[in-house]
Amino acid sequence: MNLSEEVVLDDFRYAAPVSLQEATALLAEYGLRARLLAGGTDIIVQMREGRRSADLVLDLKGISELMTIQMNAEGMRLGAGVPCYRLYDDPAVKTAYSALTDAAQIIGGWQIQSRASIGGNLCNASPAADSIPALMVHDAVCEVVSHKGRRTVPVAQFCTAPSRTVLDTGEMLAALLLPPVVPQSGAAYLRFIPRNEMDIAVVGAAAWVELNATGDTFVNARIALGAVAPTPRVAQKAAAWLRGQPVNDATLAKAGELAQEVAQPIDDMRGTIEYRKHLSGVLTKRVLEIAIKRAKQ
């Protein structure tokens, strides 16, 4: 069926559990016939288009631990259902995890951000998801729960293929755990789209940098690219190369070149292989520039 065929939703049962225990019990019972609802901005569209279906839709928004943001010395615990707008409206989150808030601010328009969650964006596992490269450079870890217990998965390992994740039947994402802020660090996410809003990323790039005290040398770096492979990719080599390098145009350009190597894009109506590979380098350079500026502040 073509991607945008509109069909009417098949009927389903709706449940709004108030605890994780209740939710995971239902998930265990329904297995693949259950779908989770946070913001609904992906799942409702997909169910309408016949790409996903369900006997049970589990609304997670009544489970308080999925809807809270906790920030302390250990970092941030971001409930999987927290909508995007709560991230960028929170000055503390914006300062500490700016790549993530950059992404949150451009997922769809304001109406989408009022509802869509970072957790949902991750679990939807689109190759072009905006939040995933950002989560990767923030070194996020996924807290996964089921009726059997909890486990953690680094975000870089979470997506396995387009629309596929490591979640087993009966498992769900409960939270994202982000490490505490490191001094002299900064992060950013940039996306290339043909318009200025409302488009799916043609290429997305996130960067996190840690500079030395004088701000002229890279101590550490993380770079991730989206929309250029079946899953978002960490540009390991490019980031590793930056360590110890001076901060200047030449090193940024080189990092861009190295980052391009992880790009294995496809030709589709949003861009050609050649164009996307080229943009990977350009965006890597530009996102590093922003991250550096923020690190110096």
Binding site: S4, D11, Y14, T41, W110, Q111, I112
Partner: protein
């Protein structure tokens, strides 16, 4: 026949109850059950903003909200903007005076989103207006007069105590 759910919610400050199937969107229920046809269907997948309503003060595309999620929420639609005694909200008045509509189909969505915008940012720049309203498509006006109408309303609302 699919089993129906009973929902109690608040719409434009009034308590409202309705029956719906789990799969019905808030947009469908507003338009087909509650006679609130101000919110319009333009695309049914969240890309045009013509169905925008406020849910607990935030603009959402009602085509991507299940009606059952309205339980316990506060919904505001375009029908709730104007008041009695011929009172029009400053946004409505400025849209009229500034000719910020042509066919009018996108207008309810813009008005509701703009109301939320001016609450969040009472004195928005042109850039902020355009950014926050980028989820509302208009094909007739080219946006110029819409942006100016929002600016005029912001000016007007500054001067009055609402």
């Amino acid at each position: 026949m699919a089993k129906k759910l009973h929902v109690t919610t608040t719409i434009n400050n009034e308590s409202v109850e309705f029956l719906c199937e789990a799969r019905h969107s808030l947009l469908e229920v507003l338009r087909d059950r509650l006679e609130l046809t101000g919110a319009k269907e333009g695309c049914n997948n969240g890309n045009c903003g013509a169905c925008t309503v406020l849910m607990n003060g935030l603009p959402v595309v009602s085509c991507l909200v299940l009606a059952v999620e309205a339980e316990g929420a506060e919904i505001e639609t375009v029908e709730g903007l104007a008041g009695h005694d011929h009172f029009l909200h400053p946004l409505q008045q400025c849209f009229l005076e500034g000719a910020a509509l042509q066919c009018g189909i996108c207008t309810p969505g813009f008005l509701v989103a703009a109301k939320a915008l001016l609450k969040k940012i009472p004195n928005p720049t042109e850039e902020q207006i355009r950014f926050n309203l980028s989820g509302n498509l208009c094909r007739c006006t080219g946006y110029d007069k819409i942006v100016r109408a929002v600016q005029a309303a912001a000016e007007q609302m500054k001067e009055t105590v609402s």
